[in-house]
Symmetry: C2
Subunit: 360 residues, 2 copies
């Protein structure tokens, strides 16, 4: 194990030891603020709510933002944060405290005056909650000119150090099937709300993913029933059956079109109420800084088959990608883990990106 | 209003004022016992648990049992028991404290020595609960010879003074559809348990009632989904979907055949677990005492499209019918009510049945 690896491991463990479930990011924000204040970026760091960010200086270098969320999903009885050989284990290790450690290490080692680009560090809160409560929103509102200077945002979501382009949009449709209550010995006196849902469920099961290509990148639009509930008692024909549909849709599709897709599918078979719409994130394949990063790093490039804040930045006209050391398959799972090797790799790739002169 | 009507109304109100939700029948049993002890049947009345019954004397007259359950479903904020003009209002008025009042009035006015048949009064507990906890079961076990003497049982369930023959059997089938959890952005990595249920729900919706005729009587066998639940969260493809089916089946069909009907319908599409089987009640159309009652009373005769303790008596080889003054459409409803006229009619029909010499 290298000295850098040990440093990143220790940093990650220190962050894991500060619980930061969504909505409780105060202590970790304070800790990150203190740590950032000791770096050469210290004079330009500030805290806004439970977010911590650095403001770039006013020069003509392009600004590249590194964005990491401070919060985690609720812990899942993982035992204490710990190192087990080459992996760090703890709630949020992969999503995304390992990435936060990489950001802190970069802030501590990059020299602001010897780079062709300016890094901007954004640590924010409430990413794992609803779209409208996400902590990146208030920063975009409070610092619009600063964010407008960003030429590339790097959302350090777990991608195993691949570059994942764009992101799927997502929304929920609450379907209500209506019936009429009656005694279950005489069902013809009413209408069975559960049974009303049959044909729609058959259509859902038969619906194939809709493949949308951007160059070599494949996004798959999918619509799924995720929750179902019929209240009542077992000798009564139910008058209400509720079904939650989750729709994931590709970059380039507006929320309005996504709503219409769902309505077309439901085709009047149920009452529909939409909630928590999150737009898709644009696939910024032509961004010159992205091209530079890909040339230098030679990492795998793939479509992001999930939602991330790449979409929120896209809404504000900011090109962004997903790139981070965590492994998505451990995210939100028990005994979440991050390999120390991946933390090192992410550090090296980003460090090189910021300091190396560009050779076309 | 007649004196008899006032008496029956007062008796019903007195019973309504003693709450007797299933499992809490002690006070009403005590009250009925005290009242029965004052009648000419007093020497032969006894209490067994929360049931009260009279034992017939050992002579050769046929025994006709009048059976009424003391319990009610939970009250539904009905306000206090009261008389409103020609109706008595209160939880259990229809199902079946009005009928209990008729039974008490008969016990107080019938002369045991001047009847061609012997009435046997059975007031019992826990009818509104599960089949296996029903209070009639322990009586059948404790007094087998006495019950074996019954030539006709009259379950005084609410029938609006029609004779309702037999009864449907009922059982519940808990269906479990199994899937495999995964993130809802990549549903192809798992299997959606809710969507697995689609074809079965379509088949349920298309299934027509199966009509079973006994002479002019029509029973309709019906199978319905009554409860549905998929646990989980809205961004996860669910691995379990649970569905409760209620099956109502006609007289003459065994429980084993009923189970097989459900299994044939499900056809392996879900895991099936049966619960609370209640057999159907035989249609004893050839019973001579029933024929006599119908000739004398000239009431409407129809099939019982629901379950009652006629089935339990049938299991013990005892012919029984449903006949009572309550109105089924008010049963288990808020502001349950019973018309005083119907109480009087029931009293007169039964009184005449017991005392009048038979003219073929």
């Amino acid at each position: 194990m290298t000295l850098l690896g040990d440093t990143l491991a220790e940093l990650t463990l220190a962050l894991l030891k500060i619980p930061s479930e969504t909505g409780s990011e105060g202590p970790i924000a304070e800790s990150v603020l203190r740590r950032m204040e000791t770096t050469t970026f210290g004079p330009r760091v500030l805290r806004h709510g439970n977010a911590v960010l650095t403001l770039p200086v006013a020069d003509h270098r392009p600004v590249v933002a590194l964005l990491g969320h401070l919060d985690t999903v609720p812990a899942r009885q993982d035992g204490p944060p710990r190192r087990e050989g080459n992996v760090i284990v703890g709630c949020g290790a992969s999503d995304m405290k390992g990435a936060l450690a990489v950001m802190l290490a970069l802030a501590e080692t990059l020299d602001p005056d010897s780079m062709w680009a300016q890094p901007m560090f954004v640590f924010y809160d409430r990413e794992e909650g609803p779209y409208v409560e996400n902590g990146l929103g208030p920063l975009l509102e409070r610092f619009p000119e600063t964010f407008a200077r960003i030429r590339l945002g790097i959302c350090m979501e777990p991608t195993s150090n691949a570059v994942e382009i764009g992101c799927l949009g997502t929304l929920h449709a609450h379907l209500t099937f209506h019936g009429q209550r009656c005694h279950s010995a005489r069902p013809w006196e009413g209408k069975n709300a559960i049974q009303e849902a049959g044909s729609l469920l058959v259509d859902l099961a038969q619906r194939q993913p809709v493949d949308v290509w951007f160059g070599d990148l494949l996004y798959r639009e999918v619509l799924s029933a995720t929750m179902a509930f019929a209240t009542g008692t077992r000798n009564v024909i139910p008058d209400v059956f509720a079904l939650n549909l989750n729709y994931r849709f590709a970059p380039g599709k507006s929320l309005e079109t996504a709503y219409q897709d769902v309505l077309d599918f439901v085709a009047g078979r149920a009452e529909v109420e939409f909630s928590d719409p999150c737009p898709s994130g644009p696939a910024c394949l032509d961004n010159p800084l992205l091209k530079r990063f890909l040339t230098l790093s030679n990492v795998i490039v793939q479509a992001k088959q999930a939602w991330t804040d790449v979409a929120r930045l896209g809404v504000h006209g900011i090109d962004a990608i997903n790139f981070g050391p965590g492994d998505g398959k451990f995210a939100h799972q028990r005994n979440e883990q991050a390999p120390v090797d991946a933390l090192e790799d992410a550090y090296h790739l980003l460090h090189r990106f910021f300091v190396e002169e560009f050779i076309a």
